[in-house]
Amino acid sequence: MTRNLITPAQNTWCPGCGNFALQHTLKDILAGFEKEGRSLDDVVLVTGIGCHAKIADYLNINSVYTLHGRTIPVATGIKLANPRLTVICCAGDGDAYAEGLDHLIFAAKRNIDITMIVHNNRVYGLTTGQYTPTSPLGFRGKSTPAGTTEYPFNPLELMLASGATYIARGYTRKMPQLAQLIRQGIAHKGFAFIDTLQICASFFNMTEYYQSRVYDLAGHDTADFEKACAKAREWDYNRDAPIALGVFYERALPTFDDRYPARALSAGERSRRIRDLFEMSG
């Protein structure tokens, strides 16, 4: 059955918000799945808390609207419970890089077969404008009126160090490429990480900055870890530099969920084995 992919929920993103582009991109990908005969019943969207997360209300598919920072453990639990499901996380940069950073690193370390899309607008939007881990040094937000006193970290470099097996960066104003990066990430068997640059129309509008610096990673060897590291370091989310978009690194490795085969026993067999353990202990 073809479904209406957008719910009746009222959309409350600001005009010009980068989230619209991500929503349209995901909607197109989902529509594509349906055309290919893939059931959307097997897709689950997992979101954190923040402006990005409203996408759980707007896309008419299975969703778990979780807590701030906690998309990954929830998604991991879902994937382990039912490996047949396609699990897509949408998280904010505050979500993924601040509140839930530990989970992000561990998802990469485990190579759990989920797709992580970080809506990286480099500012907290829903809480009306504070710096995030990827805001540039000196960013003046409501919690740092004199400017931040710490450098941003580079999420791509972090993911390379943590063992992620698919690392990409997209940009919401390059939608066809973004769609390709996400589709490829979903198809990738293992942990797929897509840092998505998007602007916050209200608190950190970087359109001009990005427009003049982004370029395609054409001809890059995605199997070469050292080259991926070099490319990832080209722009450190702080100083001026060309900003590469595309797949930085991809490799095939066994996934976490593959290592936990389903073991369910019938109720009768289970009772018999419990009884056995009781008897063995006497």
């Binding site: 719910t7 019943d41 609207y65 929830v74 991991t76 039912n82 499901l85 530990d102 353990l277 202990s281």
Partner: protein
């Protein structure tokens, strides 16, 4: 009560727990109920290790000050324990115990040499020596070795037999006609109960005293058909658990107080999003890091109130391994029937001690299966029903769009700030709580024991009940033990208190947390006997304290 207590002591790494378990099995096969404590009485310091086995002709769940046999694998065992039990019968390893005033000794080294057996079989010599000193027939000892030391059974048997033949029976333990029981630790019983209740995923970050539950389930994962995961931290634990449960996997998580602190946001998520989950919180002495390997009962009020907002929760606190099995299974099923978080709240004493359990006496509580969606689209995850329970479907189910949400939401699971909808859904959760309370009234939520018509009663919960049972038997008192603490079993509790004139709360915390809960529900205690040094009440100690309270 006929009883015998055996202390097996040696260096850390000597396999004391295993030796203690073998002594317990010998007494089990002699027809006794047994209790093994791996607690450390306060007089012991340093790296000394020992297991205390108490056996009796009726169920026991506490150790006392009296020791009948001292099985000493080293000199320190003699030095530390013998002064406290000068009349006990000593069986010692002559190679390491040099100043033995009384008792018997064998040279383990000589026996190993004669039998060309490896050092690892040395404890079998000590167990064989104890068996003979206690007059346990060799047939029983041999049977226990074959059953419980199946690896290198022949070698162990030869070593044990040689030691057995070198010792004379000095203080025979009479055989009883009682049956042989299963011997399970509280955590093993909780694990098996969870599996009996349908567990498919167990997720936990190591934290004493819950870790042995993680180890037991991980060690038996394949046999029991479950998946066991140890994630990055307790926040990851509960969220991974909730993700799995939202996708249909019956999931439990385990921790102790500090780890549970990290889980409270996830707990509240479970309450709001109506995701079933069982949370095992094994209590140790707090606050903060506290005494990691010692016991306590200070998390009752925390567990009752943890998490922001208001939502229904089940809290059960078993007293022994049998109750732990039965109520863990029930907690699993009730969590799923009502789509709520359910707690199993043991303490260190229960988690790590071993008890005699009769499997055939553990009848399941007749909890209904979860209500599943009938397939009539559209699926509404939070469909409001008279009971407040929404039929379940999981992602992957054909034609179901399952929207789970931590925000206030409508029946479809879409975020809402609409006042009427927010009220409706809060009341939906309240309806579930009312129905749960009604169902719980049909189960034995409050255990009334001892002299059930006595006008003086000991009010207790968790493992403390076992010491209370013994004191009540000696003084002719009633014991009132609520097993279910949320929803509070008001009716059963007031019935249990009928005719009581003197109600004395006995708890291992500093403030009387159950007494406070009882007061909240209209029942006042006359006195509290509290202990908060990390050590469990011994029956002898509690007897003195109760006598002091009830003395005219």
């Amino acid at each position: 009560m006929k009883e015998v207590s055996v202390l097996v002591g040696g260096r850390a790494g000597d396999g004391i727990n295993n030796a203690g378990a073998m002594v317990a099995q010998l007494l089990n096969h002699l027809g006794y109920f047994v209790y093994i404590s791996v607690d450390y009485p306060s007089l012991i310091r340093g790296g000394h290790n020992f297991a205390l086995v108490r056996a009796a002709d009726e169920p026991v769940g506490a150790y006392n000050d009296r020791i009948d046999y001292l099985v000493a694998l080293n000199q320190e065992t003699i030095d530390l324990h013998l002064p406290h039990c000068p009349d006990c019968t000593v069986v010692a390893n002559a190679d390491l115990v040099k100043s033995l005033q009384s008792g018997q000794a064998i040279s383990v080294n000589d026996i190993l040499k004669v039998e060309s057996a490896p050092p690892i079989t040395g404890n079998s010599a000590m167990i064989g020596a104890f068996a003979k000193a206690a007059g346990i027939p060799w047939e029983i000892a041999g049977d226990v070795f074959r059953r419980h030391m199946p690896k290198a059974a022949d070698e162990n048997l030869r070593v044990a037999r040689r030691a057995y033949d070198q010792i004379r029976t000095s203080r025979p333990v009479p055989a009883l006609s009682g049956k042989t029981h299963s011997l399970l630790s509280g955590n093993e019983a909780i694990g098996l109960g969870l599996v009996a209740g349908g567990l498919s995923h167990y997720i936990s970050y190591p934290m004493t005293p819950s870790s042995t539950l993680l180890h037991f389930l991980a060690g038996n994962a394949e046999r029991l058909g479950i998946t066991v995961i140890h994630p990055e931290n307790e926040i990851g634990v509960i969220l991974m658990g909730l993700g799995g449960a939202a996708a249909g996997a019956k999931t439990a998580v385990g921790t102790s107080g500090g780890g549970f602190c990290l889980m409270t946001e996830g707990l509240s998520f479970a309450g709001m999003a109506e995701i079933p989950i069982v949370i095992v919180v094994s209590q140790r002495t707090g606050p903060s890091t506290g005494l990691p390997t010692y016991t306590g009962q200070a998390e009752l009020q925390f567990v009752l109130h943890a998490g922001q907002g208001e939502f229904p929760r089940l809290v059960v606190a078993p007293a022994d391994a049998g109750e732990a099995y039965r109520w863990s299974a029930a907690a699993m099923r009730l969590a799923w029937e009502y789509q709520i978080p359910a707690f199993v709240l043991p303490d260190k004493t229960l988690s790590e001690s071993t008890y005699s359990v009769d499997y055939d006496a553990l009848a399941d509580l007749p909890v209904a299966d979860p209500v599943l969606w009938d397939g009539q689209a559209p699926y509404r995850r939070y469909n409001d029903t008279p009971s407040g329970i929404s039929p379940l479907a999981f992602p992957g189910r054909k034609d179901a769009i399952v929207k789970v949400n931590s925000y206030a939401h409508d029946e479809d699971g879409i975020t809402t700030e609409d006042a009427a909808l927010v009220t409706l859904m809060a009341e939906k959760r309240r309806k579930k709580e009312a129905k749960l309370k009604e169902e719980m009234d049909r189960y034995p939520c409050v255990s009334v024991r001892g002299k059930t018509d006595a006008s003086t009663a000991l009010l207790c919960w968790g493992s403390v009940r076992n010491a209370c049972d013994e004191v009540a038997a000696r003084l002719g008192l009633r014991v009132i033990q609520p097993v279910v603490l949320s929803p509070f079993p008001d009716q059963q509790f007031s019935a249990a208190c009928g005719g009581v004139q003197h109600l004395i709360a006995v708890e291992e915390n500093a403030t009387g947390q159950l007494a406070a809960l009882a007061r909240e529900h209209g029942v006042n205690t006359e006195a509290t006997i509290l202990k908060y040094d990390g050590r469990p009440f011994t029956p002898d100690e509690l007897l003195r304290k109760v006598q002091a309270v009830i003395a005219p």
